[in-house]
């Protein structure tokens, strides 16, 4: 019988999660300890910042109690009620949901897929998996891909930074040829710039009223600092401007952007205004080839994407249910769930 124990951001506070977290280097040892327990055949330990889960197979009815005892003694906790428990199809269903990103804090995020793969690989290397969990986990990866390819659960960006990156890619395609200028050296613009850099954007220029702060952020981002009064001249040579100054009035006006656009030979300019109050005069968006998005627009797009993903959950669950039913592991096994269902039907 397959079963799983676990807790996540949805069921336990961070204090408890950090207490039961298993560091990557300790995972093989934990797997070996679990498989050494009476009645436990196979085990996989998944530990991320948002969840700690143990998947195992029980050869005897007491195996789950053994794992509970192991949890108490290993993490020095008395109350294990925050841990959820699933058995048989429910355990498989839960794993498929986790792999598909349905249980993640950011619905549909893809990082969990790799984390589950790593956890499975670590358990395999530690000799913790055999026929049952091998089949279950390998099938879960197929389900994860199926959900991703057949639904919109992972489509679109859900944070301001990732929406900005997504829109930048809808303007330029590949960001490898794109140069970025930051006006203001705030935290939000730093994060936005890092997101763009992670997608290949090169050449970061930082311009700030406080030039020392510009130098500091520029060195952190491996870019170059620019005196604030020089930014309009530089606008012709960058593709993306992220503005987040603390100025109480607008700092980017059409009269500064129009001459820059003339020197860009048709190449578009993307301006991200994440300052409140806004840094960019809205009429800048009317200039041909200029695309302006402010913080509200970006938030709104992120919100729409989140809502769309919520709507996709039903379709994802349908795929997962069908895959659980088709899993050969349960074909020969009559679970209490199915027995009850059959009894109520007859």
């Amino acid at each position: 019988m397959i079963f799983c124990f676990g807790l996540s951001h949805a069921t336990a506070p961070v204090e408890l999660r950090e207490r039961v977290a298993v560091a990557a280097k300790d995972v093989p040892a934990a797997v070996q300890q679990l498989t050494a327990l009476d009645g436990v055949g196979e085990a996989v330990v998944l530990s991320t910042c948002n969840r700690v889960e143990i998947y195992a197979t029980a050869g005897t009815p007491g195996a789950t109690l053994q794992v509970e005892g192991w949890l108490r003694s290993r993490f020095q906790i008395e109350d294990i009620s925050p841990f959820f428990r699933h058995q048989r199809e429910d355990a498989a269903r839960h794993l498929f949901s986790v792999v598909s990103g349905l249980e993640s804090m950011v619905l549909g995020e893809t990082e969990i897929f790799g984390q589950v793969k790593d956890a499975y690989a670590a358990a395999q290397q530690a000799g913790g998996t055999a026929r049952v969990l091998n089949k279950l986990f390998q099938h879960s990866f197929r389900v994860g891909k199926m959900v991703r390819n057949n639904t919109d659960i992972q489509r679109g960006a859900t944070s301001v930074g990732s929406v900005a990156v997504e829109l930048a890619e809808k303007i330029f395609g590949d960001l490898k040829e794109s140069r970025v200028m930051l006006l203001g050296a705030g935290e939000m613009s730093r994060r936005c710039a890092q997101s763009l850099q992670s997608r290949g954007a090169r050449g970061i220029v930082v311009s700030n009223r406080n030039h020392d702060r510009a130098i500091e952020l520029a060195s952190e981002l491996s870019g170059q600092a620019l005196h604030f009064e020089q930014w309009p001249a530089e606008a012709a040579h960058v593709d993306i401007i992220i503005s987040s100054t603390s100025a109480p009035h607008t700092v980017i006006h059409p009269e500064q952007i129009v001459p820059a656009m003339r020197r860009r030979h048709g190449r578009p300019l993307y301006i991200i205004d994440i300052a409140v109050p806004r840094d960019v005069e809205p009429s800048v968006n009317d200039i041909e080839g200029v695309y302006l998005h402010d913080i509200d627009t970006l938030e709104c797009i992120a919100g729409e994407t989140r809502a769309r993903r919520e709507q996709e959950i039903v379709r994802c669950r349908q795929i997962i249910d069908a895959q659980v039913q088709s899993l050969p592991l349960f074909a020969a096994e009559v679970s209490p769930h199915r027995a009850a269902h059959a009894a109520s039907g007859s």
Binding site: D152, L167, K170, G289
Partner: protein, 259 residues
């Protein structure tokens, strides 16, 4: 129905299939590059190739002797450019927008009378064939530039107005569309230039009226290219110009082609 006509009907159905497939995907907001859409367009293209080959064999020349053949040839040239440009810029969606135009051109062609092809009539001369076929190839490039221009204007509007996210996510990047469109305009203009030069080498000089019309179309595209290079025209204006110039080019066909 003859085999060659059947090939064209199949091509029309395949283009319609490509259009319906893309339309439904776009409506669901879930367009992805699919081999089905690509296969439908490629199938339509192959059927057109078959038709042109068979008809060419019968005529003993490039099959552009009547409006039916002209439209088929131009539609074929447009799809040919799609395969070249679409793959270069990874613009799979360009195919989705090309399919309906290819379908409409094919339907228009099939609605035209198709007089029986007279075999062994022979070539009207190398320069005449070169002039006609190159000019129509150029029109194929302009047709695809028109498609890319329409897509650019749509995506530009979506990015400016921040509306219809699913369509925005589906359409290709504006910069890629602008580059593809400008290269198609340049390619078309160069091919048309060679086609016009070829017209002056023809044994029988073309009618002055027809030449003037062709010169006007050519001048419109050259002016567009020169202005774009010289003043750095915005991509939005270039897209509008590609749309307007193509309408002008299509209208010119009415004057210059045999009826």
């Amino acid at each position: 129905m003859t085999a060659e006509k059947t090939a064209l009907v199949v091509a029309t159905i395949l283009y319609l299939g490509g259009f319906v497939h893309a339309f439904l995907s776009l409506r669901r907001g879930a367009y992805r590059h699919s081999w089905t859409a690509f296969g439908l367009i490629a199938g339509g293209f192959l059927c057109q190739c078959l038709f042109l080959y068979w008809r060419g064999q019968v005529l003993g020349r490039c099959p552009i002797t009547n409006p039916f053949e002209l439209l088929t040839f131009t539609g074929w040239a447009m799809v040919l450019f799609y395969f070249i440009v679409g793959s270069a810029y990874r613009l799979s969606l360009l195919g989705a927008f090309t399919a309906p135009l290819a379908f409409l051109m094919q339907v228009a062609a099939l609605m035209k009378p198709d007089p029986p092809a007279v075999s062994g009539k022979g070539s009207p001369g190398l320069w005449t064939e070169l002039h006609a076929s190159l000019s129509l190839m150029a029109y194929g490039a302009f047709a695809l530039a028109f498609v890319a221009g329409v897509m650019f204007l749509l995506q530009d509007r979506l990015l400016k107005k921040h509306t219809n996210l699913s369509l925005l996510r589906t359409l290709p990047p504006v910069h890629h569309l602008a580059k593809a469109m400008k290269r198609l305009l340049l390619t078309g203009t160069l091919i048309l230039t060679v086609g016009i030069v070829a017209a002056y080498q023809m044994e029988k000089s073309p009618e002055a009226g027809k030449l003037i019309v062709v010169w006007i179309v050519w001048a419109a595209y050259v002016l567009l290219g020169v202005y774009e290079q010289w003043r750095g025209m915005s991509s939005r204006r270039a897209a509008w110009a590609a749309v307007v110039c193509f309408v002008l080019a299509v209208a010119s066909l009415w004057f210059v082609t045999p009826r």
